[in-house]
């Protein structure tokens, strides 16, 4: 996606510089956001971009916990879902009372809900950190999503709560009927939220969050109460997750209890981590990529969640800094004009990697055909080639592809790492720095 590459340099603090150097990225991001629906004008793309925008806010809010404060939460969707529900209720109440409120302000209802529940649940959860915190948030998530089915009037049971976004006060004749107008609403709120969250990372509070993440003992020695810092961060993350939830309610015009279920909480963990937790732009990349894969992959293959899990495990094992971390690793090379020295090695490593991936997906797809799609028979086609999944030939091909690809990837990958290391060494050594 095009806005991904533009927002990336926002990550590392740029330090000093003029107006353009400080705000250039944000101005560029705003222009890109404004132009996107003109470039990608098809209905599917616009609604996908709406979802991406919402997920960017959600993932960024999650990264306030995981990336900034080092709190691994498995119940973040609680604030997302509750924000959505309360926004829907607020819409319906405003409509019943004929309150002259424009649609643009309703995500605030979601944000306020997220903040209030962030304060309530944060008071319990942030008494502990680390693993215990993760378990508590998991428990809170289960608690809230299972109560959703008990309290019918609040959560609407299985059907959820629906609303009509066009029945609010129309400012400047904007009805929010067409999806494109909703896109601009989401883009606007997304821009404001992202800017606010970025600003928070640059405040002293944001720095203390990092200190609590890296060394809680030392943070408390210099006089900060780590529990309070975690508590505030938790509540603020709830606030922004609530805004995202409010936007999702307005986008789909319905909220169901699945919005705050464990699956949603899991998705935001995946997004944030795949994108990269150590970098402000990481969750943005992750949200865009994961949403795109969810929309596109689920059309292509029934086993898309398996690919997803494999991608996630692969990232955790081999690239724990996420995609943004991998990109940030290249920044010094690009700045020194040495990137061309490593690029061929990357391509060389990527090629066998793709071969291994093709073999793996062939195995997965054939398994899928033989099990889930068994009624359709063993005849299938992948990438335009038709074959029979019961015959040994494709399995043999897949095996060869996987083994050869993996073997080549290991060798070429090591070479690429060496090339990266020596290129970095060449930049850092005093001889070339002069």
């Amino acid at each position: 996606m095009s806005d991904m590459t533009h927002t990336r340099p926002a990550g590392p603090p740029s330090g000093g510089g003029g107006f353009v150097a400080t705000y250039g990225v944000w101005i560029l991001a705003a222009i890109v956001l404004a132009l996107l629906p003109q470039v990608f004008s098809s209905g599917l793309l616009i609604s996908t971009m709406c979802l991406m925008g919402i997920m960017i806010i959600f993932a960024l809010s999650y990264n306030m916990l995981l990336g900034q404060t080092g709190l691994l939460s498995f119940g973040h969707a609680v604030f997302f879902g509750l924000g959505g529900y309360l926004t829907a209720h607020a819409m319906n109440a405003a409509r019943a009372a004929h309150a002259p409120l424009p649609l643009e302000v309703f995500p605030l209802a979601g944000g306020a809900t997220g903040l209030v529940f962030g304060l309530i649940f944060g008071a319990v959860a942030t008494r502990r950190s680390g693993t215990a915190f993760a378990m508590i948030t998991l428990g809170i998530g289960e608690l809230v999503s299972s109560s959703a089915l008990l309290l019918h009037h609040v959560f609407g049971g299985e059907e959820g709560i629906s609303l009509d976004r066009t029945r609010a006060l129309h400012l400047f004749g904007v009805t929010f009927g067409p999806q494109e107008q909703v896109y601009y609403l989401i883009a606007g709120w997304g821009f404001i939220s992202a800017a606010a969250m970025y600003a928070i990372t640059r405040t002293p509070f944001g720095r203390i969050c990092n200190a609590v993440r890296d060394n809680p003992d030392r943070a408390s020695f210099i006089g900060y109460d780590t529990t309070t810092v975690r508590f505030i961060a938790f509540a603020m993350a709830g606030l922004f997750a609530g805004i995202a939830g409010g936007l999702v309610a307005l986008n789909f015009e319905i909220v169901t209890s699945s919005a705050m279920g464990a699956a949603q909480s899991g998705t935001v963990v995946l997004m944030t981590f795949i994108g990269g937790v150590g970098n402000f732009a990481g969750p943005i990349i992750g949200a865009i990529l994961v949403t795109y894969l969810q929309v596109m992959l689920s059309d292509i293959t029934g086993a898309w969640q398996l690919y997803f899990g494999l991608l996630f495990i692969g990232m955790v094992m081999f690239a724990p800094t996420g995609i943004a971390g991998l990109l940030a690793m290249q920044a010094p090379l690009v700045r020194a004009g040495q990137f061309h020295r490593v690029l061929p090695w990357y391509v060389l490593a990527l090629a066998p990697g793709l071969v291994a991936l093709a073999g793996l997906s062939l195995v997965i797809e054939m398994c899928f055909q033989l099990t889930v799609n068994a009624p359709e028979g063993p005849q299938m086609s992948l990438a335009g080639i038709a074959f029979n999944a019961t015959s040994p030939v494709p399995w043999l091909v897949a095996g060869v592809l996987m083994i050869a690809g993996f073997w080549g990837f290991r060798i070429a990958g090591r070479r690429a790492l060496d090339a990266y290391g020596s290129a970095l060494e060449a930049i850092r050594s005093p001889r070339s720095a002069q």
Binding site: G70, L143, A303, G309, L310, C367
Partner: protein, 316 residues
């Protein structure tokens, strides 16, 4: 009334023992390696499905032995090639690794056995009522489950308290570095413990599979309760896990048997308007409906009043 109390106690103890079979492995792994294995309930599910597959071809009894061994081996592989690789990236990465593993295991199980419940039958030799209390027949299979769970519990206790291996494991719980200094291969101990823990979860899966429903969401529905057990009992405390397992087992089974609600206790709520409707929801919720929520309520209460858990000694 007496009937309900008796049957619920039996079922509660049974559920509690099953929970303990899983929680014991989870808590020992946590104490030794500092990693809370998210995929532990997935091993339980794998045990149930492996047991089902084996019972289809060879019979129930071979499955009871083979399935846990297989799952234990998978567990060891996961520890050796997965967790140990991730270990250098810290605890969060380890937790996320096991979290991703739950996704993959669930997807694979769905791919192989489908999303619907499979027909995992109680073996015919145990398919009869053991005894009858007040017109309720109590199935022999449940007695078998209970006895198996107790037998494994006793065996585990013996191994941990009376053998040299148990001594090393116990020492690794509190002083892993010291155990390493004394020349024990801590890595291998970790791998073994992880495998045994996964195997125990699989035993629970094999014996619970025919009695409960064997389907691909069983890990997801049980996993969170397992974590509640471990946190309520106190992270890293085996004794605490045992008490918490029984507590939650009994709590849930007794709750299911009760139809009381606030409306029963204080009479129907009168009044109209939206507020009354919202309150009415809370008023009419029965204890049975709350049974799914109860473990989490217990978790929150424990954290407020006793943050280190019932028998926990550590704060993290």
């Amino acid at each position: 009334m007496l009937e309900i109390v008796l049957i619920s106690s039996l079922n509660g103890v049974l559920f509690g023992m099953l929970l303990f079979l899983m929680a014991s492995g989870l808590t020992v792994i946590f104490s030794m390696m500092g990693v809370l294995n998210f995929a532990h309930a997935s091993f339980y599910m794998l045990g149930a499905f492996f047991g089902f597959e084996i019972s289809r071809h060879v019979g129930f009894w071979p499955g009871l032995v083979v399935a846990p061994v297989l799952v234990g081996m998978i567990g060891m592989l996961v520890e050796r090639y997965g967790l140990r690789t991730v270990h250098k990236h810290g605890h969060v990465a380890e937790l996320l690794f096991t979290f991703g593993l739950t996704f993959i295991i669930q997807e694979l199980v769905q791919m192989i056995w489908g999303k619907l419940a499979v027909d995992y039958r109680v073996p015919p030799i145990l398919d009869f009522p053991a005894f009858t209390i007040f017109s309720t027949e109590y199935p022999a299979y449940k007695i078998f489950e209970l006895l198996t769970a107790i037998a494994i519990f006793l065996a585990l206790l013996l191994v941990i308290k009376r053998t040299r291996i148990g001594l090393v494991v116990q020492a690794s719980l509190s002083h892993p570095e010291m155990v390493g200094m004394l020349g024990h291969n801590v890595d291998r101990v970790f791998m073994l413990v992880f495998g045994v823990g996964a195997g125990l979860a699989a035993v629970a899966g094999v014996i619970a599979g025919p009695a409960l429903v064997t389907q691909s969401n069983m890990a997801h529905s049980l996993g969170p309760i397992l974590f509640v057990v471990v946190v309520v009992g106190g992270l890293g405390s085996l004794g605490g896990a045992f008490i918490a397992s029984l507590l939650i087992g009994l709590l849930q089974t007794f709750a299911v048997a009760s139809n009381a609600s606030l409306a029963d206790a204080f009479g129907e709520l009168t009044g109209t308007g939206p507020l009354a409707a919202y309150l009415g929801d809370i008023w009419n919720v029965t204890v049975a409906q709350l049974s799914a929520v109860m473990p989490y309520l217990l978790l929150v209460l424990i954290l407020i009043f006793r943050p280190r858990g019932l028998m926990g000694t550590r704060e993290t």
